[in-house]
């Protein structure tokens, strides 16, 4: 194709997006669009998969059967989200194996929040309430993103995430209304998960890259700082309602702007965790790599069996 032709296609492509038409796998798309989508969708998929680990850590120790069932269902949903999102990536011509390879080699990222440990049961509440809460704020706009398979996956994901978020908040309500020990456990979890949750909305706008292009492609509709403000404004009253204290001495309602002012985020910690130095980065990667490597013989067997079966069926057909 000539440069002229490509320019034309690009113009048509951008126009379609501007008209809110969906781009589908078989449509022509600029290489950068494809790559950016693979990067973002796979990062999202990886986050679901790695995100199973901190919650999976409490399945065997859930305090009641009802909570155990709910936790199992939630982690299973996360695996399901991973599955749709990997499939959505595959529509752009990249295999799941390649994507795993990128995760395991450290080339691909996943949400840094999952590099913190879950050390008490209350962390199951805090993750649902805060982490899923922040995730929803990030994800709801993506239900209208330009790439069809991603947008459709996000509709389903967001619906389930809302359910998880309510479930997490409900765990916190129960603890906050429980014995002093339970209330302390809830407050402690909020103390530990609050700042990492704020960081989940991404670096401050000044430090953020890719934003403009992503806005155009509807991969992003608001800036990180706006999303963060939205998260804070939504979450602070929820904490107050159940008598928990946000661990930020600088937090206060700004009557004039109609939002909460909040304290400074420790971006050093953020970048440290992103770079692999968080408390659980190595453990998380080890868990994923071990599962993959120890599962190699199983996947090989499944392939070998399918191949044998195919041959037998062909022979019968002859």
């Amino acid at each position: 194709m000539s440069e002229e032709q490509i320019k034309n296609l690009e113009a048509q492509f951008e126009a379609r997006i501007a008209r809110d038409e969906k781009i589908e796998p078989k449509d022509w798309m600029p290489e950068k669009y494809r790559k950016t989508h693979i990067r973002q969708m796979s990062q999202h998929a990886h986050s679901e998969i790695v995100g199973m680990l901190p919650e999976g850590n409490w399945i065997t120790r859930a305090p009641s059967l009802r909570r155990k069932v709910a936790l199992l269902a939630k982690v299973q949903d996360e695996a399901g989200h991973g599955l749709y999102l990997y499939s959505a990536c595959e529509t752009l011509g990249v295999s799941r194996e390649e994507l795993y390879e990128q995760l395991h080699s450290g080339k691909a990222k996943y949400s840094s929040i999952f590099n913190y440990p879950t050390i008490t049961w209350a962390d199951m509440g805090a993750i649902g309430w805060l982490v899923d809460g922040a995730a929803i704020i990030n994800q709801v706009p993506l239900c209208n993103t330009s790439y069809g398979p991603y947008a459709r996956a996000m509709v389903r994901v967001c619906k389930e995430e809302s359910f998880h978020q309510r479930q997490g908040y409900e765990i916190m309500i129960k603890l906050a209304n429980g014995t002093p020990e339970q209330k302390e456990m809830a407050q402690d979890a909020l103390n530990r998960w609050w700042w990492p949750s704020l960081m989940m909305l991404g670096p401050t706008d000044a430090e953020s890259i890719h934003t403009e292009q992503s806005m155009k492609w509807k991969l992003k509709r608001k800036s990180n700082d706006d999303l963060r403000q939205q998260f804070i404004d939504q979450t602070v009253p929820q904490a107050e309602l159940i008598g928990l204290t946000i661990p930020d001495p600088d937090l206060k309602w700004n009557e004039e702007k109609g939002v909460y002012d909040f304290g400074e985020i420790n971006w050093d910690e953020f970048w440290q965790v992103v770079k692999g130095h968080g408390p659980m980065n190595k453990e998380r990667m080890k868990a994923r790599v071990d599962a993959w490597e120890e599962g190699q013989w199983v996947r090989d067997a499944a392939m070998a069996y399918a191949e044998k079966k195919r041959i037998r069926t062909e022979k019968k057909a002859v």
């Binding site: 998969i49 199973m52 680990l53 999976g56 399945i59 065997t60 120790r61 859930a62 305090p63 009641s64 059967l65 009802r66 909570r67 155990k68 069932v69 199992l72 269902a73 982690v75 299973q76 695996a79 399901g80 991973g82 599955l83 990997y86 049961w121 765990i171 129960k174 603890l175 429980g178 014995t179 020990e181 339970q182 868990a287 071990d290 599962a291 993959w292 120890e294 599962g295 190699q296 013989w297 199983v298 996947r299 090989d300 067997a301 499944a302 392939m303 070998a304 069996y305 044998k308």
Partner: protein, 250 residues
């Protein structure tokens, strides 16, 4: 309180409880996303069944006992699951072999239990059959895939079947509570399931090109609360929160 009925329910539910717990250990660590989801799903089904059984048991007990008390506040010697289901997840072949050897029994058992005179048990059985049929399909498929897959997978699956075979006979032992319940038309006579069980198991093993173990030596004790050393560690985790934070709501 009808002690025999209470014990009878525990004898059924403890199997699902302990197997569900074992499957729950695997979440996030499966050999593929699809198997991970399936194992989590089976765990979920089993714990759902456990809740129904223990809610009913709590009602029969008629005291302050809750489903969680029954599930998590008994002593080591009071769990009466069969030894099979407490065996550890040594590798995926073991996990699937354990599942399969239990699923075949579980389905046969539930098919009979749905005819129980006890309408609650019949209803739980009826509801569970669909789930357990799926479990059996899933585990049978993996017995075949691994048995008739690669040399390595065949060796691993044969090893798992050989290792777990010794725990199969116990499935067909009757406790005193069982006998009373059978007489009353409530319980299932498990001795009558044995033939169908080994027929089904052997058919799948054969299709999977695996050898049917010849050993005639079997382990028992689970139904009397005499377990292998694995169970104690499982219980330490299962009970942790209820023990460390007693009498609280979650």
């Amino acid at each position: 309180m009808n002690n025999n009925l209470y014990k009878y329910i525990l004898g059924i539910a403890d199997n699902s409880l302990i197997l569900g717990q074992r499957l729950g250990e695997l979440t996030g660590h499966g050999p593929s996303l699809e198997t991970d989801i399936a194992c989590t799903n089976m765990s979920l089904d089993l714990f759902g069944q456990v809740r129904s059984y223990f809610q009913y048991a709590a009602k029969i007990a008629g005291d302050q006992r809750t489903e969680d008390d029954i599930a998590m506040l008994r002593k080591e010697r009071e769990y009466i699951n069969v030894l099979l289901v407490e065996q550890p997840n040594r590798n995926f072949a073991y996990t699937m072999a354990r599942q399969f050897l239990f699923d075949v029994y579980h389905l046969l058992f539930l098919q009979e239990l749905q005819k129980s005179k006890d309408l609650t048990l019949a209803a739980i059985a009826n509801k569970s059959i669909k789930e357990v049929s799926y479990h059996l399909r899933f585990s049978s498929d993996w017995i075949k895939r691994l048995g008739d897959g690669t040399e390595e997978s065949k060796a691993k699956m044969q090893d798992a079947i050989d290792g777990l075979w010794t725990y199969t006979d116990e499935l067909f032992h009757q406790t005193e509570a069982d006998k009373v319940m059978v007489q009353e038309g409530i319980g299932v006579d498990v001795t009558e399931l044995k033939e169908a069980y080994y027929e089904k198991v052997n058919a799948v093993l054969e299709e999977a090109t695996l050898e049917i173990p010849e050993s005639k030596w079997f382990q028992k004790g689970g139904k009397q609360g005499i377990h292998t050393e694995h169970l104690g560690y499982l219980l330490a985790e299962l009970q942790y929160m209820q023990r460390a934070y007693p009498n609280m709501e979650w």
